[in-house]
């Protein structure tokens, strides 16, 4: 029995994903259809893009709480500029806004030496404020609903543009973390900043680039979301950060740095997507969804800590 439990804890991501999936299929009528799967994947994609960026940052021993706000601002920029420079240039500028947000985060953390938690807490406030400022706290509409439809179109039965992008990025992240020099160096940095520095690596540069990467991803996700619903809103992405963080931590990436897994993040994102989609389909009120998500996150975190203590003992 203990052996099974230990195995379950070690592969907990898979176990939880399968459990949630099974429950969803049993409880929610029509869950196991391609349409639902496609919808869930599309949902997952936005959060997933942010989760990819978060995974990279956590690997380096940093954290970013501002993802949701960057998501909102980038989308707003992309929509607001549409009448001025056209849809695709506006989208590009929106993504650029994400890049700049990441650069600002990087500067505050590396240049000013502020702890990434506090820094991104502050930039979260600032970016969200910017979002409210630009839109006067009202949602703004885009100019072309056809683009929205095109983006939301489902290919091959299950994949939307975003879902495909997300899956591709996960694959890229996996390769990057396991097989590239830059990826391994980043993990070294998260594992021991001292060792990284004394080996001649440049922690400052690596961290700034990681923040920029996360910014681009959050921005890109925000742009895609705004295009898909043809709206930019300052309250978009409010839950994104906690969902993305949940997904990444559920997946086994370590908060303190040095250990990150792309496949784990994939599992975490899929689990959460299944959960939220399933609950929505059974008309579960939003607050109950919050309770369930929060409880699962807590359970997983506690399990993760327990698993780590076990590993340290052997």
């Amino acid at each position: 029995m203990t052996q099974f439990l230990l195995w379950a804890v070690r592969y907990r991501v898979l176990v939880i994903l399968l459990t949630v999936l099974s429950v969803a299929i049993m409880v929610v009528p029509g869950f196991a259809s391609p349409i639902t799967v496609g919808l869930a994947l599309d949902r997952a994609a936005s959060m997933g893009l942010i989760a990819v960026g978060l995974t990279v940052l956590l690997a380096a021993g940093q954290i970013d709480l501002s993802g949701g706000a960057v998501f909102a601002v980038a989308g707003i920029v992309a929509v607001v500029l549409q009448p001025v420079i056209g849809i695709w240039p506006a989208a590009a500028v929106g993504t650029l806004a994400g890049l700049m947000a990441g650069a600002i985060n990087g500067f505050v953390v590396v240049g000013l030496g502020v702890n990434s938690l506090v820094a991104t807490l502050a930039t979260l406030l600032a970016f969200r404020a910017i979002g409210h400022w630009i839109t006067q706290s009202q949602p703004v509409s885009g100019i072309d609903i056809m683009v929205a439809l095109a983006i939301s179109q489902v290919h091959w039965g299950v994949l939307t543009l975003r879902a495909g992008l997300f899956l591709a990025l996960i694959l890229l992240l996996h390769v990057w973390l396991t097989r590239t020099v830059a990826g391994r160096n980043l993990l070294a940095l998260g594992s021991s900043p001292e060792a990284a520095r004394s080996s001649g690596l440049r922690p400052g540069r690596m961290i700034i680039l990681a923040f920029i990467g996360a910014g681009v991803l959050a921005g890109g996700a925000g742009v895609l979301q705004s295009l898909a619903v043809n709206t930019g809103s300052p309250v978009f992405g409010s839950d994104m950060t906690i969902f993305a963080l949940t997904a990444v931590v559920v997946g086994g990436t370590r908060l303190e740095g040095g250990r990150a897994t792309a496949l784990g993040t994939l599992g975490g994102v899929l689990t959460l997507a299944t959960l939220t989609t399933g609950m929505e389909f059974s008309s579960v009120p939003a607050y109950v969804q919050e309770v369930v998500t929060g409880t699962i996150l807590l359970t997983l975190i506690v399990l993760d800590r327990f698993a780590r203590q076990q590993a340290a003992m052997t």
């Binding site: 097989r179 590239t180 020099v181 830059a182 391994r184 160096n185 993990l187 070294a188 998260g190 594992s191 021991s192 001292e194 060792a195 990284a196 520095r197 004394s198 080996s199 001649g200 690596l201 440049r202 040095g258 250990r259 003992m313």
Partner: protein, 497 residues
């Protein structure tokens, strides 16, 4: 006259409140092994940290092959061909052995890691230094001595011009040490300048060509090894006779105060038994990683304890944390003063009274006068300088910080005091003072268990000595049985426990 590989001239280094180096010179030739020796706190580590680019000198000049250089970062040092094997291991625990060996110069094919080259290269280097390690093992899971070998491999892999090794054999077995010496001689033959820091004088005499001795942050002397004796080195290191340094008080030995039977912690410590009697100074020594600190931590509840009996004054106790240990009469002064000893932002007074605060308070409210009296009393008794107990402890010297931590545990009125490396990183003057304090304590009936890696210290003051090796403990050696070679043999496992 060949240009030396390395010249450091007039190096001064200050930290807030401390003058660590006051104008040190060092000259190292290519193709030579140059040892730097000195007591703890003499400045050896500071000097080489400057050389490796981790610190910047407050004043002074560094020349490599005759040309002045500025080493502003480890990357700079690496660029000038300086490789460093640190004393506190500097590895990434989540990466593999092979990855750590090549960290910062990973062989690559485009953006990808060239795994084949990584493996073959790492395998080759490990073979050269005689280390048998699994290339794909995560470094974090290795033992301390294995990690040290990875550090050495990493430095060797850089093909350095100047290699610095800081206490490299502190956790190596005799066999592994000899293998290391072979590697160093090979590097010397290839023209590398090897800088070797150690306070194991026997090793220094065996391997070095030249010796620089530091004392209290200054240069005490630079000699050729030819004709140099251990006594002369000690004299330079210490400035006076060793016997003065460790005054031995005679004390009457009484009842057993602390009896440990069959202690295990499920990790590093196996079946350890020892006794400390009233009036006794019991020394405990061994190589780094032997498990001595783990034993102490297990006793007071800072670490796990899976088996064993602990008796104080004959009564069974089972402390689950330092507070319970204190109530049982056992006090522990930790090994790592900076991390586990001082609470840096608090004052000397607040540091001293921390474990006994409840007894100096009423209904949770701290009685300021009682606290001040206790703190001042302890500070005076131990000669803590400067004598102002309101001063922030982080501003005191290492020696005085150590005295404060000792004072803290004396305030707890223990029956048994466990001291873990009590004079590490402490200047010579304070060292003598601390030993005088210890002598004083035992003559008042306390029992002291002193964990130390410094053989001269252990041999000079202990009434009995326990030697640990890989988690196990040997039966104690009496004062008349104390012999450096015998202790080293037990510590390295040559002589079975």
């Amino acid at each position: 006259m060949t240009v030396p590989a390395l010249e450091m001239r007039g190096i001064v280094k200050t930290f807030p409140g401390v003058l660590a180096l006051s104008g040190v010179d060092l000259t190292v030739q290519s193709g030579s092994i140059h040892a730097i020796v000195g007591e703890n706190g003499a400045g050896k580590s500071t000097l080489v940290k400057i050389l490796s680019g981790m610190y910047q000198p407050s004043a002074g000049e560094i020349r490599i092959d005759g040309a002045p250089v500025a080493l502003a970062s480890p990357a700079d040092a690496a660029r000038f061909g300086i490789a460093m094997v640190h004393q506190e291991l500097n590895l990434a625990p989540d990466l593999t052995v092979a990855e750590n060996v090549f960290l910062g110069r990973t062989p690559r094919r485009g953006p990808f890691v060239d795994r084949k080259a990584l493996h073959t290269g790492a395998a080759g280097i490990l073979a050269t230094i005689g280390a048998r390690l699994n290339l794909d093992a995560e470094v974090g899971g290795l033992s301390v001595s294995q990690q040290q070998l990875v550090e050495i491999a990493k430095a060797y892999a850089a093909g350095p011009r100047i290699i610095v090794l800081d206490e490299p054999t502190s956790s190596l077995s005799e066999h592994e040490s000899q293998a290391l010496f072979g590697v160093l001689r090979r590097m010397r033959a290839q023209g590398t300048a090897v800088i070797y820091i150690s306070h194991r004088l026997r090793e220094v005499l065996a391997i070095a060509d030249e010796v620089t001795v530091l004392r209290d942050g200054a240069l005490a002397g630079a000699r050729l090894r030819e004709g140099l004796t251990a006594t002369e080195m000690i004299h330079l290191m210490v400035g006076r006779d060793v016997s003065d340094l460790f005054p031995k008080h005679a004390a009457t030995i009484g009842e057993p105060l602390l009896e440990i039977e069959g202690l295990s912690d499920g990790l590093r410590v196996h079946d350890v038994s020892l006794t400390v009697r009233a009036g006794e100074i019991v020394g405990m020594t061994g190589l780094v990683g032997a498990g001595r600190t783990e034993v102490a931590r297990a006793i007071v509840g800072l670490g796990p304890r899976t088996a064993g009996r602990i008796r104080v004054h004959g009564h069974d106790v089972a402390p689950r944390n330092p507070a319970e240990a204190r109530r049982a009469g056992i006090a522990y002064v930790p090994e790592d003063r900076k991390r586990d000893g001082i609470v840096p932002s608090l004052s000397v007074r607040e540091n001293i009274t921390l474990p006994i605060l409840s007894s100096l308070s009423r209904l949770g409210w701290v009685r300021a006068r009682a606290e001040r009296a206790e703190a001042q009393g302890q500070a005076r008794r131990l000669g803590i300088s400067p004598p102002d107990p309101e001063r922030r402890i982080s501003l005191l010297s290492g020696g005085n910080q150590q005295k404060t931590v000792i004072a803290r545990w004396l305030a707890a009125r223990p029956s048994v005091l466990i001291l873990d490396e009590p004079t590490r990183g402490v200047d010579v003057g304070a060292k003598a003072e601390i030993h005088a304090i210890i002598g004083d304590l035992v003559s008042q009936g306390l029992g002291v268990l002193m964990i130390s890696s410094e053989l001269p210290e252990v041999m000079a003051v202990s009434d009995r000595v326990y030697v640990m090796h890989e988690g196990r403990i040997a039966p104690p050696l009496g004062r008349d049985e104390l012999d450096e070679r015998r202790i080293m043999a037990l510590a390295t496992g040559e002589e079975g426990l």
